[in-house]
Structure formats: C-alpha cells, structure tokens
C-alpha cells in the first residue's frame, strides 16, 4: 500500500461462471468437459420465491459481534453489511465503503456509499461505523472479536460519510478483517440500545431483513427492498429450517421441501446421487483443516525426531483419498484456498510431508525408540470425520512403529484440552478458516500467546510471525509466510493431515448460487444468496 491511492470499487462485481450451478451438474455426471461458459448468462434471473435452507444447527443468537458460532454468521452476513467485502475471486472490494484512501501506514480514510438506509428506515451515517467498532472494543460487550480490533488507536468521523481509522502500529491484516463479515458487521446504535443486544432482533443494511427467529425451529429473512445494489436480491426471502438429523435433511431435499443443505458430509454424495432434481456441487476450494497437536511439555514429543517420524509416518494422500473421497488437499495451517500464502495443495518443498515409514522408523531409532513409541490421540466423536481421520492415521502410524491409542472425549472437554495442551500425547480437532495468514498463525503458534498449541517456544517462529503482521508489502508477506510454513513443517510442531472443502447438495431449481471458499468452519463456503434465484 502506498500513500494517497484511491481504490474505487468496480461497478460490476465480476462473477465467474465457473462457479455457477451447471458445473455441479457436469461433475455429477462425471464428465471431464470444460465448464459450460455462457449457459448461466443465457438465463435471465427470475424474481421472487422463498429459498428454503435446511440448517443443521440453530444459531445461538444473531448478534454478529457476540456470537462466535458460524451458524450465527451464516445468517447475519445476509442481514448486515461491512465496510469491505470479498468478491468471488477473494479480492477485497468495497461494500459500504465507496472508496478509501491510505493516508499512511496507520491511517485509513473510508468514504461511505450515499443513500444507504437501515432496515428500520434511518440513514446510515459514519457515526454508525464508529459505534460498531467501539462496541466490540468495549469490554462489557464481551465480543469474541475484541482482540482483533485492539490495534485501533481511534476512529474519527469528520462528516456524515467519512470515517478515519488511526491504528497504533502498522497492521497488515487490517483490510482482511474489515472484509470478514462476522468480524466487522456494521450495526445500528439505536437498535442495540433499544433491545439490549442483537441476539434476537436485527436491523442491518444487507440484502435481507430478519422477519422471524424461533430458536431450534426456523429463521425467516425477507428481501430488503431498499438494498443498495440495484435489482438485488432476486429472492423474496430465505427460510432456514433447523433440521438436526442428517438423514432427515437429505430426505427433505429429495422430497423437494427444502432447496439446499448447509452441511454435507463428504461421504454423503452417494446418498443424493441419482435423486431426481438434486444437484451435487463440488467444493470451491479447500479451506477447512484438521490440526493435530503434540503435547511438547513432556517426552516423547519434546524430541523433534519423534514429531518428524509422525509427520513422515502418515500418508496424507491416502487419508484424503479414503476419508474425503479425494475432495481435499495437502495443507499447512494456511490452507490451499489462501494461495499464494498457502501451498496450493502439493507437498513439494514441505519437509517430512512425503509418506516414508522407513525414514520414520530411522528417526525413532535415532531418538532412542528403536522398539517404537506408545502414545495417545485424543479426538471428539462430535465430528465423525475426525474419528475417521484418526482411525486411518492410527493404522498408518502403526506401520512406522508408532502405536496410537485413540481416546474419545466429549467435544467441550476435548476443545478445552486441545486449546490448553492438557492431553496425554496428541490431540486432533477441526480448525476454522481465518481471513488472513496472521489470523491463522499468530495466536496459535506464538510462544507469547496463551494458546500456543502444544506449548513450544521457537524464536524463529515468533520473529516470522511478527514480521508477517507488520509487513505491508504483499510479496514480502508471501515470502515470510512461506518461510514460516516450511520451518513449521521441518520442526513438525503440528500435523495437518489435510484441508477439505464443502460438497453441497441443492435442488436443480436453484440458480445463480455462488460461494467463495473459506470463511466458514467445517469446510463450508460463504454464500451469496443475494444473486441466487429460483427457476420455478
């Protein structure tokens, strides 16, 4: 970023037809044909209709600044807008900000789009933006995103449409965070003050307005007739039905009573294949990871050779082929969908990533474990995919002389043990996608952080993390994070068996559905329901 450059937003967000539904249909038939470019454009969107979504979990409240649950964001991101957002190519573009100016490394000025109104009728003003961030910074809000914004020194609003952020230090992830829906939703002060919070009520500036929220049952959104993008959304509304049982969700999709499933197990494809009117949609990218940490406060994992033996002892390609049925990629903590920061799904250049049981045994021998090692792997049955992954890894590691006992723990306890390194040998959980390499890596690796998974101290890791956070030049940042990933792989501080993506199932009447990789845990994608329409 250089001084004083204006970034106007493109007038037409560029949609790639590659990601339209037709691709799903082609893949379903197993044809290796190129995407049918143009076929999506040939159809003019029809206006109207309610899109019915089968959701697996009820949102624990809708306040984007209070809920750390993805099931909340997946609704609130259609209700609220942000200053910035990501386009389908993951580029950061303006949302409520019409343009912005980088005054210097720590000062940014945003000009708001004119004529934007809240769902309850009032005009959006710069003061709303300031309030939104100050509410998150207020300790009383107890916002999970508070630490993200503590870099802000002050926010000024010289006039009704201008917001000036002044940061304490240069902070590279700032724009990514501003474009991440749940981190930085712009909220109205008057509604928060009237209702106490936004857990059950909502008023935003986004394409849909909240009509009804009955916990454990349904969330109904309707079209915002004053949404700032002309002609959007096409739908009259969205109805989320909370259906916890997967078999019931699939039955509802097959019967046509719902249009779209939120979460689809990678192995479920065979259950919907061949169902008439149902389309399977392949992942847009691999963003969701599993992470396995070692307890490095005691032997044997204090020894880098034992950790390396584990890394070389697992066969990542085989896990992807069996557990994900091929829908996944090789990964570090920064997943392939975040290329060029992440490795784009191959193991080249990553030490100890290639499967090599002989090398693993040699490393164990050098570490004094010629007869092999006995250890435990803690996992939670909450996520069946974790268990399946762990079972395959257990078999593979046995071939390298590492005898693993699987220990199944209830999710709440497993999460706590993982975060605090309070497990015996190893522990594995699904990790969430983060909007920036810094967010991916800093808190869970840095030795000064509370979390510091596995409790390791490495000055080189700390230094790279600090550099990545404060280096604003993109190419230099890429080099820093590539160094970090290579170094982490070499030291085998954590093991990342794979990155996976969401396989989604929808009715063939759903058109114009578009998502971008990432932003949701459990390998889900961000949905763009505003340009989705129903071909009725």
């Amino acid at each position: 970023m250089t001084d004083g450059i204006e970034h106007p937003i493109p007038s037409q967000p560029g949609h790639t037809r590659r990601v339209f539904l037709e691709v799903g249909a082609v893949t379903l038939l197993g044809l290796a044909a190129p995407p049918l470019a143009g076929s999506a454009a040939a159809q003019t969107p029809k206006r109207g209709g309610i899109l019915v979504v089968a959701a697996d979990v009820s949102p624990p409240g809708l306040d984007p600044q209070k809920s750390a649950a993805a099931h909340s964001w997946m609704i609130s991101e259609h209700v609220y807008s942000n200053l910035l957002r990501r386009d389908p190519q993951m580029n950061i573009v303006g949302d409520l900000a019409e343009s912005w100016q980088v005054v210097n490394d720590t000062t940014f000025v945003f000009k708001l789009r004119k004529g934007v109104t809240w769902h309850h009728g009032r005009d959006l003003v710069a003061e709303d933006v300031k309030y939104s961030f100050e509410r998150m910074l207020d300790e009383k809000t107890a916002s999970p995103w508070r630490s993200n914004w503590q870099i802000i020194d002050r926010i000024e609003t010289p006039d009704r449409v201008t917001v000036r952020f002044v940061l304490k230090r240069p902070f590279a992830p700032f724009f990514s965070y501003l474009a991440t829906p749940h981190y930085s939703a712009i909220i109205p002060r008057d509604i928060v003050e009237k209702d106490g919070d936004l857990q059950k009520t909502a008023s935003g500036t986004g394409p849909f307005m909240l009509e009804r929220f009955v916990p454990d049952n349904t969330v109904v959104l309707k079209r915002n007739p004053r949404y700032y993008e002309p002609g959007l959304p096409h739908l009259d509304g969205i109805e989320y039905r909370i259906i916890p049982d997967e078999a019931a969700r699939i039955a509802a999709l097959r019967a046509g009573t719902v249009h779209y499933l939120w979460s689809v197990d990678p192995l479920i494809d065979r259950q919907v294949q061949g169902a008439s009117g149902v389309v399977l949609r392949e992942p847009d990218g691999y963003c969701a990871q599993h992470g396995m940490a070692f307890n490095q406060t005691k032997p044997p994992f204090t020894d880098v050779r034992v950790r390396r033996a584990v890394s070389a002892g697992i066969n990542r390609k085989e896990i992807i082929a069996s557990v994900l049925r091929g829908r996944g990629g090789i990964t570090t903590k920064i997943p392939p969908c975040d290329a060029p920061f992440g490795y784009s799904g191959d193991e080249k250049g990553l030490p100890y990533y290639a499967h090599d049981p002989a090398q693993a045994k040699r490393l164990l021998g050098e570490a004094g474990f010629a007869n092999g090692v006995d250890t435990t792997l803690e996992v939670s049955p909450r996520f069946p995919q974790t268990i399946r992954t762990a079972e395959v890894m257990k078999e593979q590691l046995a071939g390298a002389g590492i005898r693993v006992t699987l220990k199944q723990t209830e999710w709440g306890a497993a999460l706590k043990n993982f975060v605090r390194t309070e497990y015996e040998g190893m522990s594995m959980i699904p990790l969430v996608w983060q909007p920036d390499p810094d967010a991916h890596a800093y808190d869970i690796f840095h030795s000064g952080s509370n979390i510091n998974l596995g409790k390791f101290k490495d000055p080189q890791v700390d230094q790279l993390l600090e550099q990545g956070r404060t280096t604003l030049d993109r190419d230099k940042r890429i080099a820093i994070y590539r160094d970090l990933q290579r170094h982490m792989a070499d030291q085998a501080y954590l093991i990342f068996p794979y990155a996976s993506g969401a396989t989604e199932a929808l009715r063939d009447t759903v058109k114009g559905y578009l998502s971008i990789p990432g932003t949701q845990p459990g390998s889900r994608s961000r949905h763009f329901f505003k340009q989705t329409w129903l071909d009725r």
Partner: protein
C-alpha cells in the same frame, strides 16, 4: 384427600432444592468450560477477552456464591438468562415446553389407543393366530428403536408422500390442525413403540384377571362376553397398565431427545441436551426445575387416577 394433595405439593419444595443443587454440582463437575466453547478456538486465546467474559458471566465467583445468586433470582421469579445466547431462560422454556408436552400427549394417546385394544384382543384370543400376530407387532416395535422407525417414516414419507409434512413444528396456537398433522409422524413413531409395551402389559394383566372368580361368576350369571371383558375384567386389569404407562409418560414429558432431533421438533429435549453440550448452566438449571416439577405433578396425578379407576384405593 385435600390434605394428601397439599402434603405432596409441599414436598415439591425440598425436592426442587435438592435436585437443583445436585444438577448444579454435577454440571460443574463435567470437564470442559463454557468460555472456551463460547469463544471458540479463534477467540479463546486472548486472555483479556476470556477474563472479560468470565467476569460478565460471574464465573469468577466461588461455586456456592454462583448457586446462591441463581437461587436468589429464582426466588424473585426470574430464571435468569442463557449464558450462551443471552435469551431469557423463562422465554426459552415457554417456547419449548409446549412442543414436548404436545408430543408426549399425542404419543401417549396413540400408545393407549393402539396398545390397550391390542392387548385385550391378544388376551381374549390367547394362543390363536391373532394373539401371535399382535406378538409380532409388539416385538417389532419394542425391538426397533423409535429413531429408526422415525427415520424410516421420514424417508418413506419423502419418497411416497412428499406432500405430507413430516419435519419441523407448527405451534398449536397458530393452527391446531396443521400442528397436529405435522407432529403426527413423530408422535406415531414414539407412540407405537410404547403401544407395543402397553399391549404386552395389558395382555398379561388381562389373562390374570380373566382367570379370577368374579369373572367366572359374571359369566355364570349370563353377562354378555363383551361386557365381561370390557366392563368387569379390563377395569381391574388396568391398574398395572396405568402404572406402567404413567412411568412412560414421565419419561416423555422430560423430552424425547432423539425423536425431537430426528423430526426437527424445537422441544425441551433438544434445549436441554444442547445446553449440556455448551455448559449453559442457567438454561440447564431452569429446565431441571421445570422438569422436576412436571415429574412430581404427573406422579401425583397418576396416584389420584388410581382412585378414579378403583374406588377402593383411598388416600390418607
């Protein structure tokens, strides 16, 4: 009688206190903590954020103080707010309990309406083919768990009768007819399983009664067959059946978790189980108070029902 009911109701107070204290201790003994679950792995690493939340939720106070704080709120008629969502616990109970009660009542009606006639039929036809076929019915529904039957109902419904609502919930107050129809598959899955047990109970109880002297006397003085079975025998055979059905009903009003999950019913079972997963202490406590009261009241009602069935049973 009034004194008996009064005494039973007064006993509710120590029962509730004991149960609430026990749940409070148990839920705090489960490993895992609310703050980590609430903040998720993304945010729980920040110590300041953690401490702010811990303080806001009073989790930094000693356990005894937390319990007394909660008890004080209950005394003032306030069940507090969910630690996870901030929703009023009372509102959550008011929202979810009618669903569970409706399901319990519908399931029990189906169970009794199917189970008792079937049991009587089996007893009067003992040893004949009809008896054998009711045995097959009973065995099938006793052995197949309700969630399996439920899943089959949903999948079959989606395939052969897609117009039939099988999932979700329409509040009774919104549209009674649609509410009953939507809940019917769930209530039937649950009710048929219980009807199988009731049929077996009714059969054996009836067989015993049909052997007794007064039945022989009734027959001897020329009472019609139907009247002997339904008027004389059934009434006497009903006591153990009611006792058993009552126990089943107490289970049902505690929330049929699995059926609620399968049929996407926003009932009490799901509320409580989710609250336990998330360590949402206030919601669990509120729900336990309500469920304990309901169980005590249903048991009392059952005891009074015995008197209605058999006037010889009196209360002191």
């Amino acid at each position: 009688m009034t004194a008996y009911v009064g005494k039973r109701l007064l006993l509710l107070i120590p029962t509730l206190l004991g149960v609430s204290l026990l749940t409070f201790l148990l839920i705090h003994l489960i490993p895992g903590d609310l703050v980590t679950i609430l903040l998720g792995i993304t945010a729980s690493q920040n110590e300041q954020t953690r401490q702010a939340l811990i303080h806001a939720l009073h989790l930094d106070r000693p356990l005894a103080v937390q319990y007394l704080l909660w008890l004080g709120e209950v005394m003032r008629g306030d069940l507090g707010h969910s630690l996870v969502t901030g929703f009023s616990v009372r509102d959550e109970l008011v929202r979810s309990y009618p669903v569970t009660l409706q399901l319990a009542l519908m399931a029990m009606s189906i169970a009794l309406a199917v189970g008792i006639p079937l049991g009587v039929l089996a007893a009067t036809q003992a040893g004949r083919p009809l008896d054998a076929s009711t045995r097959v019915f009973s065995l099938l529904f006793i052995s197949a768990p309700a969630f399996f039957i439920g899943t089959v109902v949903i999948i079959a419904g989606a395939r052969y009768a897609p117009w039939l609502p099988t999932l979700g919930h329409v509040p009774f107050t919104e549209s009674p007819a649609r509410s009953l129809l939507t809940m019917l598959p769930a209530a039937a899955s649950l009710g048929l399983a219980i009807s199988a047990i009731i049929a077996r109970f009714t059969r054996s109880s009836m067989l015993e009664v049909l052997e007794q002297d007064f039945v022989r006397t009734a027959r001897a003085k020329g009472v019609a067959d139907g009247a002997v079975v339904y008027k004389h025998a059934l009434r006497n055979a009903l006591i153990p059946v009611v006792a058993m059905a009552g126990t089943q009903f107490v289970y049902l009003i505690g929330g049929a978790v699995i059926i609620e999950e399968v049929f996407a019913l926003p009932g009490m079972g799901r509320l409580v189980v989710n609250a336990i997963y998330q360590r949402d202490y206030t919601t669990i406590q509120g729900a336990v108070l309500l469920l304990t009261s309901a169980a005590v009241l249903v048991n009392l009602a059952l005891d009074l029902l015995y008197h209605v069935i058999d006037r010889r049973i009196l209360y002191a």
